[in-house]
Every structure is written in structure tokens, then in C-alpha cells.
């Protein structure tokens, strides 16, 4: 894999170096041209030279080379000199890194490619793509400011999710509950570190950031746009990147917390699930939400709507539309919109590092909490429970469940945990939507 990284960086430099060189050359040659023209067309020399100079001042090269004080971006926010020059180049590099992760590594490409491209476009100097009237700015207004896009994605997720494995063994939902400690534990940690002066987050910001531990994209975008819109870009990037990195982050934690014997536990009991049960499930969950936590109802309402459309079996065409066209269109729009927050002036701020670190902590803590809960349940319950499936409770559907399965198989190749892990996995989605509702009820 390392070879491929080097290859990619080489490929990148294939693009970047000559462009840099050419940019300089073109600068010179354009200057030369100005002179040449100035001689040829004497009568209007000053006019045309001025025109060329004005044009030169509108090039991106000029903007990169001559950052200025007090410049504002398309949305009226100030951009420092560093952000205008190196900042944008760094961000462009980061978006290329996201492309690399998406394409060569296969990490959440559906989101990282639109987000990365949105970020690329957001870092173009002088263009008005993310402002009012710019197309990404318009998309942002159309669906992020008013929560519409993450909600529509959640409908699609609901329509794509089979809750059967959870219904076959409902008590594994508690593993999905435990893993939400990634959220609330991180909240405490973030606040503590802010008190110690390591970070500088308000309570509300800390809460928003901790939701990354929910390992759920739309929930993260939803909460970020409500509680901390300024941090949206970094939060979304952190959430999707770590979700993609689940196969890297989780296994060491899972192995550290379990014995080989525990990892070899085979799970057997699975009760039969009827179609009627699947159909009632979204309604049951929604009624519970209404009774206990109305603030979660946009998220859980959308999820259960999609799932009800799926399981009702009588509106196949709506179900297919939710699972395909609608979610695809919204994914493109959401990705580009979220990407607009990768503009240097929003991303290259001290908070970003804190978000990236805290997000990673949240993921790890959530994984650990899920595994520990699995160990506890294994001891208390009659039927054996393999603690590895607790790690799937963070959600990150279906990656986390697959990781649990794989780690189990490493110990015993005949031990198929996949379906057992899907229960806590989908419960984790509900769990983090509940956690989001708690935050919304507080703030």
C-alpha cells in the first residue's frame, strides 16, 4: 500500500509542479506580452496594458501571491493573509488527500469525493461559488441551513436498512446504547481539556463535537448545523474520515479489551422475525421517541419513515426512489455543501485540530464502551454474547459490523458474527439519534 501512496504523491506532483512552474512562466510571459502589445498598439498602449494588468490582478496566481489585509470571502467572512495564500494551497492539498483516500483506499467515496470537490471549489480565490448566488452557496441554503439534506439522507438510510438482525436479538440494542458513551464521555473530556486551557471550546461546541462519536454522518451534519455551524466542515470531515477508518481504529482496541476466549465465543440463538414485526418496528420506535424524546423526532422520524416505506411492501416505487435517486441526488448536494466549509478561512483555524483529536477519541471511547458492555452482558445473560459485537454499537453501518466479524474470524475462522453484529450496529444509529435529541433538548 505504501507504494501506492508514493505513486499517488508522485502523480500529484506531476500535476502540481509543472503547474507551479508554468504559472511563474506564464506570469513572466504575460508581462512580456504586455510590453510586446504596448509597442505594437502604441495609440492605446496605456489602455490595453491597464486592461491586461487588471486581468492579471483577477487571476488566481495573483491572489495566491499577493494576499491582502481585510479581504472578505463570498459570505462576508474575513480571510487572513495566511489563509489567502498558503492556507488555500494547504486546503487544496487536503482535498487531494481526501480524493486519494476515497479512490485508492476506498474510504467512504460516496461522501469524500463530493466533500473534497466542494472543498476544492471553496478554496478558489475571487470566485463566488460558496456565497449568495454561487451554486454551492445556493445548495447550502437549500438544504443545510434548514436541515433538509441530512434528513433526506436519513430517509434513504431508513429505506436501505434491514432491522431484522436487531429484531432477532433485541437485547443487543444495549450494546448500541453503551457505545454512545463515546459521545458523552468525549463531552466531559472536551470540557475538561477546555478548562485546562488545552482547547477553547464552549460547552455547546464541545457537545456538537462529541457527536462525532456517534459515527453517523447525517446526525453529525444535523447537529453541527444546529449547534456549531462554524465547525461543520471539520466535524463532517472528521466523522466521515473516521467512519472510513473504522477498520484501522477499532481492531487494536477490541483486541486489547478482550481475551482470545471471549473472541471465540459463538453466538447461536436467533429468533425468527416476521414481516409484520419488521413493519411495526419503525412505528414502535417512533412512538417511543414521541413519548420520551420529541427533540429526536426529526432524525428518528425520517429514519423510521424510510424504514416504514420499505417494510410496508406496498409502495415499492417510493422505497426504491428513497434508496436510489433521492439519496444519490441529496448526497451530491450535501457533499458539495459540506465541502464549502473546507474553505481555508473556516478549516484552518485552531479548533480544527481539536475536533480531529476529539473525534478520534470519541470513536475509540465508543468502541471501548461497546466492548466492555459486551463483556458485562456476556456475564449477566444466559446466552453467550461475544463482546466483539459491542464494538459495532458505534454505528458506522455496516463497516463496524464487518470489522467485528473479521476480528472474530481471526481467532476462529468458523465463527460468523456478522448478523449478530448488525443488531448493535443499527441500534447504534438509533442511539446516536437519541443522543442528538438530548443535546437539542438541552441547548
Amino acid at each position: 500500500m505504501k507504494k501506492r501512496v508514493i505513486q499517488f504523491l508522485l502523480a500529484l506532483s506531476v500535476v502540481m509542479i509543472p503547474i507551479g512552474a508554468i504559472a511563474t512562466v506564464s506570469h513572466m510571459s504575460e508581462g512580456a506580452k504586455v510590453e510586446a502589445k504596448a509597442q505594437k498598439e502604441v495609440y492605446e498602449s496605456k489602455g490595453f496594458g491597464e486592461m491586461l494588468y487588471n486581468f492579471w490582478k483577477q487571476t488566481g496566481i495573483y491572489a495566491f501571491l499577493h494576499p491582502q489585509e481585510g479581504v472578505k470571502n463570498a459570505k462576508g467572512d474575513e480571510v487572513t493573509k495566511f489563509q489567502q495564500s498558503f492556507g488555500r494551497l494547504i486546503m487544496i492539498g487536503i482535498t487531494f488527500l481526501l480524493f486519494y483516500l476515497a479512490i485508492a483506499k476506498g474510504f467512504e467515496p460516496l461522501l469524500l469525493i463530493p466533500i473534497g470537490f466542494g472543498g476544492l471549489l471553496a478554496n478558489i480565490p475571487l470566485a463566488n461559488i460558496i456565497g449568495d448566488g454561487g451554486f454551492i452557496g445556493e445548495l447550502f441554503k437549500a438544504g443545510i441551513e434548514n436541515e433538509l439534506f441530512p434528513i433526506l439522507i436519513f430517509m434513504g438510510v431508513g429505506a436501505m436498512t434491514d432491522f431484522g438482525p436487531l429484531l432477532a436479538n433485541p437485547k443487543t440494542a444495549l450494546l448500541g446504547a453503551a457505545a454512545q458513551f463515546g459521545i458523552f464521555g468525549t463531552l466531559v473530556g472536551a470540557v475538561a481539556l477546555s478548562q485546562l486551557g488545552v482547547f477553547d471550546f464552549s460547552l455547546q461546541d464541545a457537545a456538537a463535537i462529541s457527536i462525532i462519536g456517534g459515527a453517523d454522518g447525517p446526525t453529525t451534519v444535523f447537529i453541527a448545523s444546529k449547534l456549531a455551524p462554524d465547525l461543520l466542515g471539520a466535524m463532517a470531515v472528521a466523522a466521515y474520515s473516521y467512519m472510513a477508518l473504522v477498520p484501522v481504529i477499532q481492531p487494536p482496541i477490541m483486541k486489547a479489551l478482550t481475551t482470545p476466549e471471549e473472541r471465540r465465543i459463538k453466538m447461536t440463538t436467533k429468533r425468527k422475525v416476521s414481516q409484520l414485526e419488521k413493519m411495526l418496528f419503525p412505528l414502535t420506535v417512533l412512538v417511543l421517541t414521541i413519548l420520551i424524546l420529541p427533540e429526536s423526532s426529526p432524525l428518528i422520524g425520517a429514519l423510521t419513515f424510510g424504514n416504514f416505506v420499505r417494510e410496508s411492501k406496498v409502495v415499492e416505487r417510493l422505497s426504491k426512489t428513497l434508496q436510489n435517486e433521492l439519496i444519490n441526488i441529496v448526497t451530491i448536494f450535501l457533499g458539495l455543501s459540506v465541502g464549502s466549509k473546507l474553505a481555508a478561512e473556516y478549516f484552518l483555524v485552531p479548533e480544527t485540530l481539536g475536533i480531529l483529536i476529539l473525534g478520534l477519541v470519541a470513536f475509540s471511547v465508543g468502541t471501548a464502551a461497546g466492548v466492555i458492555m459486551g463483556k458485562i452482558m456476556n456475564r449477566l445473560s444466559k446466552e453467550p454474547i461475544n463482546p466483539l459485537i459491542g464494538a459495532a454499537g458505534v454505528s458506522a453501518v455496516p463497516m463496524a459490523a464487518r470489522v467485528a466479524n473479521r476480528v472474530g474470524m481471526e481467532e476462529d475462522p468458523t465463527n460468523v458474527l456478522l448478523m449478530h453484529a448488525m443488531g448493535p450496529n443499527v441500534a447504534g444509529v438509533i442511539g446516536s439519534a437519541v443522543a442528538a435529541g438530548v443535546y437539542l433538548s438541552i441547548f
Binding site: I430, G431, I442
Partner: protein, 74 residues
């Protein structure tokens, strides 16, 4: 402010657990009731259609081949 955060943590984890625990309880209850009142809904009706389809497909292919064989021989 840490105290605040700890309180929120307890509240949050409490609500998450209460919610999912209630869900477990209700789903168990629901399952038992459905097993009692709609036992037929638990029969594996969902797994048969694909089998039938495959069979039908095979039959179709067989029929076409037979027809073609017939055509060629005549």
C-alpha cells in the same frame, strides 16, 4: 463547567439507555404477542418465492430449448 458536562453525561447516557432498554422490552413483548396471535406470520413465506422463480426460470429455459430442439429436428 466540568460538573455541568458530567451532569449532561449522566443525563445523556441515562436517556439513551432508558430509551433503548424500553425499546428492547417493547420489542420482546410485541414479539411474544405476535407469536401468540399471528403465528402464521412467522412462517417462512419470504424464502419461497425466489425458489419458485428459479424453478420457473429453469422451466422456461427447458421449454425454450425443447422448442428449439423440436424446430431443428423438424
Amino acid at each position: 463547567m466540568i460538573l455541568e458536562a458530567v451532569k449532561y453525561m449522566i443525563l445523556g447516557m441515562g436517556v439513551v439507555f432508558v430509551f433503548l432498554y424500553l425499546m428492547v422490552v417493547v420489542l420482546d413483548l410485541q414479539h411474544k404477542l405476535l407469536m401468540k396471535f399471528f403465528p402464521e406470520s412467522f412462517e417462512d413465506s419470504s424464502k419461497e418465492p425466489p425458489v419458485t422463480t428459479k424453478r420457473e426460470k429453469l422451466k422456461k429455459v427447458a421449454a425454450i430449448t425443447a422448442a428449439l430442439h423440436h424446430m431443428k429436428n423438424s
